[in-house]
Point group: none
Chain length 422, copies 2
């Protein structure tokens, strides 16, 4: 079954908004064993939408259109689908009723344009939207299944998971699933990971049953092990076991895990808690930890001591140390971690200080970073030097802080293990 | 002149690699006054490439194909272009010579597949690649200009800047630059903004010189005013002035501004500082403020009091209040804002508390949010109810907290203005 994606919106063409939906859907459908055969982006103009949509319908067995379902005059996806299907639009009274109640509940006016969100091409059905006002559409054009889903990522994802994907899988019958496992690592570059896995790559090259690929994103590297054909789960499992042997504590989890989630699980399993003290990351470490549902069981809280004097007055870093060394120093990181651990009564304290840029600070170059973890067994400090933009330096620091915490909580040799110091 | 982009590669369809080239090219061509009318992504298969490329050539005046030019068996862009043009491929001896020298210099073997990089469709020409091995192609198909450029972003950008863009601008003659302004708002939905601008939309509908479009992203709505044809800056300026009149304090900035950046500018202009107390946002408000270079001039710091007892022990919220009302209460938000203002000696304190989910808390439903700003003139609290995922509720809360701070610092009537309370 070939599936095409069509993203609608002038903002995507001019690059005001990145079309992240294409990647998100591509990964999700691929993981479900389905095949995305093409992606198109088209503006808000009706004629262009009709043309692009008709081509997608001609080529594919299913088409997912995202965007253009909202309450403004440039939302014309409903019209375009009806035109390609050659049917009129009908107003769905149940959706109209739901929209009226929803807008009343939000104390907002439902305009005539807003009401168009209840329109469905004849023969199609509405897809309820639990996360927004614009319902989706499912309709058959010939023997092609066409779905229209909202453009905002969180609405798009929910409607895909709950309504579109089950429908597609039902239509596809038994999908030709290739076995895959993904090992997640943080703190080490793609090149180093590949070098560590060289023995495995040599072994795999002999029989060709499992393919290895690397996918690097800010501070993290994903190792993908995929069977060369359908099936092959046993071969992939064996390759994954060998890869874990070679990578050791560097692997923090597998597909579906997040670094913050793994850290929180480790803490919960040990009845331990964490408190965070941040400087250059300015709240990112705490935000990442608290993004996980149930974080309140293990996260005490955090202090961003952005101004240097607050590192003393709130976190208790010695004023003489700050005066002598400035805020960017390994001892300051250590005292911040210990200070926030005391202040918030956490089992562990984790701290970041450094220079995110654009300007050097206290005589230290941009990218200088110190990360500390304080715990029952003492305090560990990492000294790092990152390159890149302010945003990248903050992001890399956040990943490394979470990974150092992981190593310390898990009892991994944080000072020797390349996962934790490399 | 309509320009279509075609990105080639299986890795884009499955989402292993995000198609950032589309956004990059979209922004670059738009900035040059050119118009991207469509984007397609297609896999490495020859038939699919020929089909997609032929459609793009049918619709557009120029087509830029990225990717599929390299030295492996799945690089078939040259073949596809020749097939659509209906001409054979010829080997360019100058490029062949250059390739042989280049590979020799890198001590690498030039295979038969590698030599195909010297192939050009009859009637076309090679585009030299200063940053990689794969030369590009420029060829006319009918009266459509077709360019093939490498997929790796740095090669793609360099070849676009130096060779494709000058050629496109020459073909376009005087580029039809359309004037545009973008007004940025936070805190109000797209529908409400559209209703507030209805008088302007009516006025503009009469002469049709300026088009209005809305772009909604988490908690923010962008109003885009674009001239219908080339020029029209005066008309767009007049429409922008009228829109600002209708939207009042809801507009926080224009294209290029960020909400956090605007808030920091306001604070700096008043020699004021801010301290943040977070619960459900868990560090996001502080992280957003400190993402702006130079934030240290105005951001004192923040406390994430995620555990309820820390709202008392660190921020000084009255223990009886917490015991009686729980952590999710407007008075708790107010005391948190006042407490962090005191603790960190800020001019302003801003606080968030609420239920991000997935489970209700203290008898309050998911999405219940209180935001407070404490300042020299007293304390204001917003009571809100958001829908959506945990991530979205945290994101919306962050935007609203920054926007309430903006209104208070700017002296806007935060309690009446829909920008601040709607």
């Amino acid at each position: 079954m070939k599936i095409e994606l069509v993203a609608v919106g002038d903002e995507l063409l001019v690059g005001d908004v990145e079309n992240t939906n294409a990647g998100t859907l591509g990964r999700r459908l691929t993981a479900a064993g389905l095949r995305v055969s093409g992606v198109s982006t088209v503006g808000d103009g009706l004629d262009a939408m009709i043309d692009v949509l008709a081509q997608a319908v001609r080529r594919a067995d299913a088409v997912i259109v995202s965007g253009g379902l909202g309450p403004t005059s440039d939302d014309r996806t409903r019209e375009a689908i009806a035109a390609v299907a050659g049917v009129p639009l009908h107003r769905d009274p149940a959706i109209e009723d739901w929209l009226r109640r929803r807008y009343r509940g939000m104390n907002r006016t439902l305009t005539a344009l807003g009401l168009q969100q209840a329109d469905v091409p004849e023969g199609g059905r509405s897809l309820p939207n639990a996360n927004g006002s614009a319902p989706g559409i499912a309709v058959e054009i010939g023997d092609v299944a066409v779905y229209a889903i909202p453009g905002p990522p969180h609405e798009m994802i929910a409607m895909t998971e709950e309504q579109v994907l089950p429908d597609l899988l039902r239509r596809a019958g038994e999908p030709p699933i290739r076995a895959q496992r993904q090992l997640l690592t943080a703190s080490i570059g793609e090149g180093v990971i590949a070098a560590m896995l060289e023995p495995l790559e040599r072994e795999l090259a002999r029989d060709g049953a499992v393919e290895v690929a690397y996918l690097a994103t800010a501070g993290q590297t994903r190792v993908k092990l995929t069977s060369a054909g359908p099936g092959g789960a046993a071969e992939v499992d064996a390759a994954a076991a060998r890869a874990r042997e070679l990578l050791g504590g560097c692997v923090y989890g597998e597909a579906g895990d997040t670094l913050a989630g793994v850290v929180l699980d480790l803490l919960r399993g040990r009845d331990a808690t964490v408190a965070v003290a941040e400087s250059l990351t300015g709240g990112l470490v705490a935000a990442e930890l608290t993004s996980v549902p149930g974080a309140s069981a293990s996260v005490r809280g955090s202090v961003t001591a952005y101004a240097t004097d607050l590192k003393g007055s709130v976190l208790g870093v010695d004023a003489d140390l700050l005066a002598a060394q400035g805020a960017v120093h390994p001892d300051v990181a250590a005292r911040m971690a210990e200070g926030v651990r005391d202040l918030m009564s956490g089992t562990y304290g984790v701290a970041t200080t450094g220079v995110a840029g654009p300007d050097p600070q206290d005589g230290k170059p941009v990218g200088t970073v110190y990360i500390a973890v304080a715990g029952p067994e003492g305090t560990i400090v990492l000294s790092l030097l990152f390159s890149g933009s302010r945003g990248r330096i903050r992001e890399m620091t956040t990943v490394r802080a979470l990974d150092l915490l992981r190593c310390v909580v898990a009892g991994l040799p944080a000072e020797q293990d390349p996962a934790c110091t490399g």
